[in-house]
Symmetry: C2
Subunit: 488 residues, 2 copies
């Protein structure tokens, strides 16, 4: 019994009687640091004096909240779809109107307010399929394999839910990278599945090592039934972009070891480093030939929330399933039908992402200008972040090759580690909480994502506007030096 | 092993290795009848000859798909929020603009594309709280108890997820009405909880009987741990409106038997029958005095999908939790944070519903006109449905007091029941499938919602436009007479 249990002993639902799997879930990206940051913001508004005047949040990949502007064309079409009277207005370009008309025609009663088919609006799924075919150099995509989702998170949890079964030693094991995006660990806790860790190689820019995958799998087979291998590429929280060779190795490994592959590819347009390129798991799978492309089961995920659009609030996304057993696919369709459908405005937005303005259309030039400007700015900020962090003694930062995050290694003095432990805190949580209180900067401790024992990190997004990012990085530098000195 | 298992023996994920709880789920509202209806529509488009020229769908509460028009004010504000450039356009009334500005100010980066706080946008939750207070005659509502959700379905599943625990005889039991809305049975199957049935009294217009609740609970306590009582009011699929007395009885019962109450009140504005009135569980709870209002745990649910707005596609909704243990509330907040947030356009729409135009504002007159027209039309169609169905020998239909459905009792001849069973079909599924094939009318068999053994029903929405509804009802009548004759 917890301390509060006496107080609430008459309640039906208490911390002691609730679902224990939910209790086990953790989600650092919106954990205690962020809650404290929100309190501090409130205190600042109420006039409480602090050593800073604003909280700078670099805890979550929320581009618009950090000032990134939406793509004009996307928002025009969404406005037209929301209020079709505007189709008579001259202020909108013709291509925006024709896209809106096409989407509305595919909606029940020509309204975003009707439920869509559970798998998603037909014509949007067709557009997604054509987008995937273009992206993958003509590898065919069947719209029947595409499911529109409520953001990628919802797709990932749904797939895991299908895959998890068994008890004890036959319980499903799911291999996830460490560091990982904590949606994965939280979903596995929720579903009562076994989390199987494989470590990314920090020394080799967070790449995946085949030997580490083998070690992890062999270890897991002693106590559970590992069936799934999850990969995030480009990486969250680690910002790496996997090489084609690495993806090939992973696919061969999954095939040999009879693992279902889940590829989280929501950052597919966020590739900044020279020499790096995004390779979709599906494309590589098909290039490996029919003995792979006809057998390896793959689900890949995309979203409207990242890349150049950053439209998180609309909760749009899709997943494509490859080589899925037809009976299981029918079950998947049933499962999603209970939730009725993904939000229709998010489906419309997903359509615009995969069917953006084409050369010759009135909105093309502006669209390309906006898209390129956003991606160039992100590339600049990725470089800036890496460079400045690497000037700090005690901070080592891999190149931010892609995605929206850096995950630098921080050296913490023994005295600080001791003090944190005395307070019952994880050392990098102690560090980040102190940084928040002293500088107003909100980062997420590496422990929220997982890291090798005895190493410490933080995750920081590269999203704040350049001027704020510079202030942030300068403050991080100053804080780290002071912290190191204080505890040395 | 199923038949296909040999074919798919090399797959990781097969019908035999997938999550068994997902396999158990059923969702009739989008089940085999609806899938067949979609096939038939496709066949019609391809020119296949049928005894009808169109499929009329009365299977799902999807108002806009049935031609109901959205509320102009809501869509204006959504368009303004989607594309804030429109704030400079003169075509929009000032109150729409000021609502849009207020919502945008509450969004990160003034964009619908930013994530909101996990519990929902602050100012929307405040507006929801004030709406609840007005609705409940001043009973106080704390915005901290309000969670914005992805439609009501998502809120209901989330609450059930918190509540479910235990194995064997200590497994959580959840009492649901029979007939029920199959979201409940599906969610319970998914979560591995025990479904505890209590039967509504069809003879007394689908009311809840205390003695039946007691019977059901006593029965359940022999094999599980019943902790939750779910009520849908106004009723789905049964269209009844619970009396104040009945709600009082249910609350006293929950208090006495130590049950957590879940009140699905998404049809709170859909009350048509004279003498009927919507009473919220919360209001009645508070009127019963502090020994109830300080102890009984209640979660109530609302949505943008029903009432006069019918905006299903936006997936907007909220839940209010009363007397929830603070430690559990923190866990609830953590649980919803893993899914990041409810779709922000849906949150904006929920705000407009609870904060609609007020007397004196430019949009008030139009808003009231549209709202009243929609609700009056629904009331007319409710009456029409009941009256026409009751003219058919062998069909008995309770008054459609509220919600959007009638759930008439149908007498099926013994010969038909025998033939259905010989085909391995549930008799009312056999009946509805035959009706679909012969008339193009898509209803949902009562067995999809549960019913007393030996009774048969179908659920039919009252949403089709009046002219189509009349055709539909005439065809149902004709089919039922023919069917009865054929099998007598």
């Amino acid at each position: 019994m917890t301390e509060n249990a006496a107080f609430s002993q008459n309640k039906v639902l208490t911390i002691d009687t609730m679902n224990p799997n939910v209790k086990k879930m953790e989600y650092a990206v919106r954990g205690p640091i962020v809650q404290r940051a929100m309190q501090i913001e409130k205190e600042l508004r109420e006039g409480v004096k602090k050593p800073f005047t604003e909280v700078i949040k670099a805890n979550i990949g929320d581009a618009h909240a950090m000032g990134q502007q939406p793509i004009t064309f996307f928002r025009q079409v969404l406005a037209l779809c929301s209020y079709p009277e505007l189709l008579n207005d001259n202020m909108f370009p013709e291509d925006a109107k024709s896209r809106a008309r096409r989407i509305l025609q595919a909606c029940g009663g020509s309204s975003l307010g009707a439920y869509s088919a559970s798998q998603g609006i037909d014509c949007v799924r067709q557009d997604v399929a054509r987008y995937i075919e273009r992206r993958d150099g003509g590898v065919p995509c069947d719209p029947d394999n595409v499911y529109l989702t409520t953001g990628a998170s919802n797709g990932i949890v749904t797939m895991l839910q299908l895959l998890v079964c068994g008890e004890g030693a036959s319980k499903t094991g799911v291999m996830i990278s460490i560091p990982q995006y904590p949606l994965y660990s939280a979903a596995l806790a929720e579903l009562g599945a076994v989390q199987v860790n494989y470590y990314l190689n920090e020394e080799k820019c967070w790449s995946m090592d085949l030997s580490e995958l083998e070690r992890s799998l062999a270890e897991a087979r002693k106590h559970c039934n590992p069936k799934v291998l999850c990969v995030i590429n480009p990486g969250n929280p680690t910002g790496q972009v996997q090489s084609r060779q690495c993806i090939e190795d992973v696919i061969r490994f999954a095939a040999k070891e009879h693992l279902f592959l889940m590829a989280d590819e929501v950052y597919q347009d966020n590739v900044y480093a020279e020499g790096c390129q995004f390779h979709s798991f599906k494309k590589v799978l098909f290039e490996l030939g029919p003995q792979y492309s006809n057998t390896v089961e793959l689900a890949s995920f995309h979203s409207t929330s990242k890349c150049y659009m950053g439209e998180c609030g609309f909760r749009g996304g899709y997943m494509e399933v490859i080589n899925m057993d037809p009976e299981v696919k029918a079950q998947l369709t049933k499962l999603v039908s209970v939730r009725l459908c993904a939000p229709v405005p998010g489906q419309a937005l997903m359509d615009l992402v995969v069917n953006s303005p084409q050369p010759g259309e009135p909105s093309y030039t502006t669209f390309m200008k906006e898209r390129t400007a956003t991606l160039s700015l992100l590339a600049e900020k990725a470089k800036l972040t890496e460079e400045i962090l690497n000037t700090v003694p005690g901070i080592t930062c891999n190149p931010v090759q892609g995605a929206m995050y850096s995950f630098p290694n921080i050296s913490l003095p023994q005295k600080a580690i001791k003090e944190a432990k005395a307070l019952g805190q994880v050392p990098d949580m102690f560090y980040c909480m102190k940084m928040l209180e002293e500088t107003g900067i909100c980062l997420v401790p590496g422990s929220g994502f997982g890291q090798k024992d005895g190493t410490y990190h933080f995750r920081m997004t590269i999203l704040p506007p350049t001027d704020k990012l510079k202030i942030l990085l300068a403050k991080v530098k100053e804080f780290h030096l002071k912290f190191t000195q204080q505890y040395s």
